[in-house]
Subunit: 313 residues, 2 copies
């Protein structure tokens, strides 16, 4: 198994340097999930860290929501693998002096998210830290070892749900405003799309990843991992209703705002050309796969340079 | 599956509160590892977080050592389960402005530790944080689902290796001195005891855990988890040679210093009464299991009240 090529960005430069240093031992680094075969079973494993002040501010969310959101973000990688959840382990850090209720409420949020997809909290570790952080590791199993690297020329590019709602909430908070309720819910209580991911895997998905950095960044990862080009028509993006107001404030067309919005935790998936969508999963075709390299975005007939959210910028 | 009773301490009060809140969903919380059966295989999963300023100071260790130590600490839970390592996933946080070399060197240390026990780095997540932290989740497999709860009256209580070396290094550093090399090595480069753990599991171990809090604390967990009493003769402890000097400075008898020393990552194991040790694994019998409750420690015929290291004190 070799490491998967990544798109551009400072965070990915770091991962590339690690992959170069580890050489053939780098394995599946650069994927959202690692697949391991154990006997006749395929096991999917992924880890995701949420840090106060980086991924959320404490005044924005209840403790239960912080736990839910961190866990949903991690489970989203299982969704993109087409896997079922077995459970999660959580490494939690808390500032000195926090009451016992703080860890309990955080873990109730964790448990709620994992229960919503049929899994359990398997274990954890608790330590003092400067801020609240949750490193959530998810373990699941799947029928096929689906990843982000299988897209082929001619495949359609599809997304689930609606995009930009989480960013609309984030822009409101950072601008000192209270987000509208449906935007707030998208940020505070993302639904991990495991059932949708399994349906897509069973219906021929060639590659899948979750939209954690926004399609502006994640489409580039899909292209790099598959050794293909990805073309996205921004007119086709399914835009969350809360985007209109915040996009105006940000001075961006709504489709660009939605494309650059991270942390929606919807799925970005390539499907065979003949796939036509269905009623069971809310799916929108937004582009296609071509021979070539990189992701390109068009709006009103013009090519736009876009990039996703980067935790190291 | 029900949650495992825990010994005393503020950290464990937090875990008890979480277990109470989650009720029957708490599963294996309170164990070092969670065991999950997948097809015919038994999977062992555990997570362990290492935080700069809490578990280590950056001036004490090289970046490779920080990565090794965090990973060895996590792998130690697999050792105590009698499991083999499959691999690790790592959620890494770094302060803004750290060079690319920082993450690479940390991950080279992680890879070194997991390679030393035959596993690989399966994946990870990278984020900005106030300090360096590594949440290392280990995944392994085993023949039997050994945990900390099976000790029975009449069993012998054994430890591997030597105790107190890591604390000797810690006391030197916190006192402004450079530790002697063999103490420093115990802190900076602990060897995960997976081969020993498997040997003990195959030779009838009834319960096992790793000495992360020191036998002064961990013997209480073994007693609580098994619903038994544990008696330890401190005269019998195998004491690391670096302890003598630091115990004198700390004003503690060397055996007490070693018993209260955390993070040696040796194994504490109960074996059937007939077990007599062997030459393959360095083992010392330090006590026995009785009907009753709690851990009791004797030195020179006197009962001593002892407790282990607590991250929330």
């Amino acid at each position: 198994m070799t490491a998967t090529p990544l798109g551009s960005g400072a965070e990915f430069d770091r991962i590339r340097a690690i992959v170069a240093a580890l050489g053939p031992r780098a394995g599946s680094l650069g994927n959202d999930v690692a697949w391991v075969s154990l006997g006749a079973s395929h096991l999917a494993i992924s880890t995701d860290v949420s840090v106060e002040g980086v991924h959320f501010q404490r005044e924005w969310l209840s403790l239960e929501e912080i736990g839910w959101r961190a866990t949903a973000a991690a489970l989203s990688d299982l969704a993109a693998a087409g896997a079922s959840a077995i459970g999660v382990v959580v490494a939690l850090t808390l500032p000195a002096g926090e009451g016992v209720a703080t860890s309990t409420r955080l873990m109730q949020g964790v448990d709620g998210a994992v229960a919503s997809v049929g899994g359990t909290v398997l274990g954890g570790d608790l330590s003092r830290g400067e801020v609240i952080s949750l490193a959530v590791t998810v373990v699941g199993s799947g029928e096929r070892m689906l990843g982000r690297s299988g897209a082929g020329p001619g495949d359609g590019v599809w997304v689930t749900g609606q995009l930009g709602g989480a960013r609309a909430a984030l822009e409101a908070w950072t601008g000192g405003r209270e987000p509208v309720p449906n935007a707030r819910a998208r940020f505070a209580h993302p639904e991990p799309r495991l059932a949708w991911g399994r349906w897509l895997a069973a219906h021929g998905a060639t590659a899948m990843l979750d939209l954690s950095d926004g399609i502006a960044g994640d489409a580039g990862h899909l292209a790099a991992a598959g050794g293909v080009g990805v073309r996205v028509s921004l007119e086709l993006l399914p835009i969350h209703p809360a985007v209109a107001l915040e996009a105006g404030r940000a001075g961006e067309p709504p489709a660009v705002f939605a494309a650059r919005g991270g942390e929606d935790y919807e799925l970005l998936v390539t499907m065979p050309a003949a796939f036509a969508g269905c009623g069971e999963v809310p799916l929108t075709r937004v582009g296609w796969v071509v021979d070539g390299a990189g992701a390109a975005f068009e709006l009103a007939g013009r090519r736009l340079p876009l990039s996703g959210y980067n935790h190291f910028e």
